[in-house]
Amino acid sequence: MTKRSKFKDPGFILAIVVLVYSAFVWIWWPHEMYVAGVALTAWLMLAGIILWFGLAIVYVLWIERVEKSVKKQTERRDAHEDY
């Protein structure tokens, strides 16, 4: 079995991205600055929900690439062992 660090897993890395953006919004919390009559904090959260969907696309494409490369490695190794 190919040993791979759990911390290099696309899911783990993207979960960190989610936590970093969330931390940015919740720590800054600009609730007294207004854009178009609405607190800036609300607009940051709106940007966040679009970011979440973007990250979902990145994850699906990334993990499919990882799976493809692992599959190739495994097939190559099996062929070599059979030989």
């Binding site: 759990k6 783990f12 993207l14 609405v38 959260m45 969907f53």
Partner: protein, 490 residues
């Protein structure tokens, strides 16, 4: 009684019950078919199904109602967590739980931590999902009393029992396939409503100005920071800790299909919330929040104000659809918790498939009746009640679940202490009412984390087999998993 709307809603429910009956035979063939649709659902159906399961009545009525009452930032705090549900679950647990090869969430706890944690998890699932019926039933009662012109209490009873019978008959097959229609109607309905509103107000900029001129506080942060943050974390974790959402994941044909379903499901959910934002602005511009008995009725008032009766009827059917799909998935989680996780695994291991399915039917009816009794006099706004459920599940098994997947050293004692401690602290905080609304998990979840890590480190590490199992959760493809299994056989 609103005749046009009532006819459309009635025909719609009849159609859904027909689908339930059609899948009745198929669902009774095995418990795998009943709970996870035989793990044979494709991406297209799966995307709508998972979006419909996540998008409960709260997503539509609750978010809009609370957004108009508490301001647009509250609506966005809700959305900020809710849209993250599927991606966050996909990043941290979905693939790993699939590779664990378990059927329900407590099953996972059994495999990873042992029987005692599994039983505790099953009890928590049953309690939380039964209470989760309350906001769904509240919403269905509000819509039913509006459309049929009957008393709210009767509307709760009739609609509650109606969709319980349908869910009980068909299991996950019926639920997943009706979700395709429900998801589509819900999405289409809210988008059409948003289009009507935007046309009426000549665009989003004018709509926002109209809302702010009617309610100058609409754009303000009106609650303490903790209320927003508590709501956010409860929802962000919802896909990880909600048994009904996790069970949807098991219904997909394979891991790739499950991931793609979640990705498209996120888009559907995003579109729903963007349309919901327009509905919330329209609700604020009408200036009726103070005149309604229940703030959650704002959504229905917006429909009535902007849409002609026929389209309004379809939209209301869409709202009922969202309630029905979520409530059905919850009922299924409750019945799986009792019939499968507690009875079959711990009381009667030789129970036949038929007996288990029959027990599931009885449990669903009991859970539904309990939900109806509480919903007759709902304790809070829909959004807040849903926030409680999310907060309770996060505080109890959010941490042991994620650490069970990612940290080999987490053991049975730690998971049990973290689960029980988090649940008790949450319930104490809710009953004392000393924190802002929905802020309870901010305290209870870290306590669960400290207990899980601390007790795990103070007690012996899990066996080598269990630690090897954790490694297997993180293999990337089936071929790799098979290779690992082969090398172990040798």
């Amino acid at each position: 009684m609103r005749i046009t709307e009532a006819i459309i809603v009635f025909l719609y429910l009849l159609f859904m019950i027909g689908i339930g009956l059609y899948f009745y035979k198929r669902a009774r063939s095995s418990s795998s078919d009943y709970y996870t649709a035989g793990s044979n659902i494709n991406t297209f159906v799966g995307a709508f199904a998972i979006a419909a399961a996540v998008a409960s009545s709260s997503s539509l009525m609750g978010a809009v109602g609370s957004g108009v009452t508490l301001g647009l930032p509250y609506f966005f705090a809700y959305a900020f967590g809710a849209i993250g549900i599927l991606p966050f679950a996909m990043f941290l647990i979905s693939g790993q739980v699939r590779r664990a090869g378990v059927k329900t969430m407590p099953d996972f706890f059994d495999q990873r931590f042992g029987r005692s944690v599994q039983i505790l998890a099953a009890i928590i699932v049953v309690l939380a999902m039964t209470f989760y019926m309350v906001p769904q039933l509240t919403a269905s009662g509000l819509i039913g009393s509006y459309v049929l012109g009957i008393d709210y209490i009767w509307a709760v009873i009739i609609l509650g029992l109606g969709f319980t019978i349908y869910a009980a008959l068909g299991g996950m097959w019926a639920i997943t396939y009706t979700d395709l229609f429900q998801g589509a109607i819900m999405l289409l309905g809210v988008m059409v409503l948003a289009a009507f509103i935007l046309f009426d107000h000549s665009g989003i900029g004018t709509l926002l100005s109209d809302a702010l001129s009617t309610d100058p506080n609409f754009g303000d942060v009106t609650q303490p920071w903790m209320a927003y943050f508590g709501l956010f974390i409860a929802f962000l974790w919802f896909g990880i800790i909600s048994p009904s959402v996790v069970m949807r994941n098991f219904a997909s044909r394979d891991a790739k299909t499950a991931r793609r379903s979640s990705m498209w499901g996120t888009l559907i959910y995003l579109l729903l919330f963007l349309s919901g934002m327009v509905v919330a602005m329209a609700g604020a511009s009408l200036g009726i929040a103070g005149q309604l008995d229940n703030a959650d009725m704002i959504f229905v008032s917006v429909i009535e104000h902007y849409l002609p009766p026929i389209i309004g009827g379809i939209m209301l059917a869409g709202l009922l659809a969202s309630i029905m799909s979520s409530a059905d998935a919850m009922l299924l989680a409750v019945s799986a918790g009792v019939a499968y996780d507690i009875y079959k695994k711990n009381i009667n291991k030789n129970a036949s498939e038929q007996l288990i399915t029959l027990l599931s039917l009885i449990v669903m009816m009991v859970a539904s009746v309990i939900g109806i009794l509480i919903a007759i006099n709902p304790p809070q706004l829909i959004a807040i009640m849903v926030g409680w459920v999310g907060g309770f599940l996060l505080s109890s098994f959010g941490i042991p679940f994620v650490l069970g997947i990612w940290w080999k050293r987490a053991n049975r004692q730690g998971a049990f202490a973290g689960m029980l401690g988090g649940a008790v602290v949450f319930l104490v905080l809710v009953s004392l009412q000393i924190l802002p609304t929905n802020a309870e998990p901010i305290i209870a979840a870290p306590i669960s984390l400290i207990l899980t890590v601390g007790v795990s480190l103070m007690t012996p590490a899990p066996s080598r087999e269990v630690q090897a199992q954790v490694d297997r959760y993180h293999t990337h493809i089936e071929a790799e998993g098979k290779a690992a299994a082969r090398s172990e056989e040798v």
